[in-house]
Amino acid sequence: MANAFAICTSFKVELLNAVHQFGSPTIVSRTSLTAPTADTFKCALYTTAGSIGAGTTAYGATNEVSNSGTYSAGGATFTWVAPNSSGTTAFSTPSASISWTGVTFTTDCCLLYNSTQSNKAIATYALGTIGVGQSVSAGNFTLTMPTNDASTGLLRIA
């Protein structure tokens, strides 16, 4: 086996676990330096008037869907499956579907963000055709996650 240029796969998993610290950002304490607790993550939904995307740095309430049923500003809390790797890809996915009941809104995008770390943004996902979205009326809205693997996991470092 010859030498090869590569980002080490273990490092990719460690990035998802915040093992490395390249800079000195101000962060919210994770209780212990040697055995830190996991942060709290949330999923917020946005109307078709929203403009979240790659430039989003943190959760904001502008153009978030209105409170109804079990949906309240900021969205719902979820947990990630412990980061893993397969081949040279590290990956993780929320551990369960995210759902709200008795809601009325139209949404075309969601934002996953770190509630513990000043609501810093992680990623946005389209929930259908942008600008059209999904309309729910006095009903339930369920966001089902892809299979948590190196091909389809919600967040992958390949």
Partner: protein, 75 residues
């Protein structure tokens, strides 16, 4: 079945007064969507103006595939 009540925009309605349709959308490349629409088809005279109206809509969105950050050199 048929005697259960369903929460709708018109309040709690018997399931047998609703016409329930499942709508599947596979056209979008990033998600797979199933919607369940409940249309009022009851005979309550107080709700006659709402006959044919969608009074509840549930949606299930499945994200087919997440984001990938590539670490390939030169990409």
């Amino acid at each position: 079945m048929g005697n259960d009540f369903v929460t709708t925009t018109l309040g709690e309605l018997p399931e047998h007064e609703l016409e329930i349709t499942l709508i599947e959308q596979k056209s979008d490349p990033s998600v797979w969507t199933v919607a369940r629409e409940c249309k009022y088809v009851g005979t309550n005279p107080e709700l006659s103006a709402h006959v044919g109206e969608i009074v509840r809509r549930d949606v299930w969105v499945t994200i087919k595939c997440g984001h990938s950050v590539t670490g390939q050199q030169g990409v």
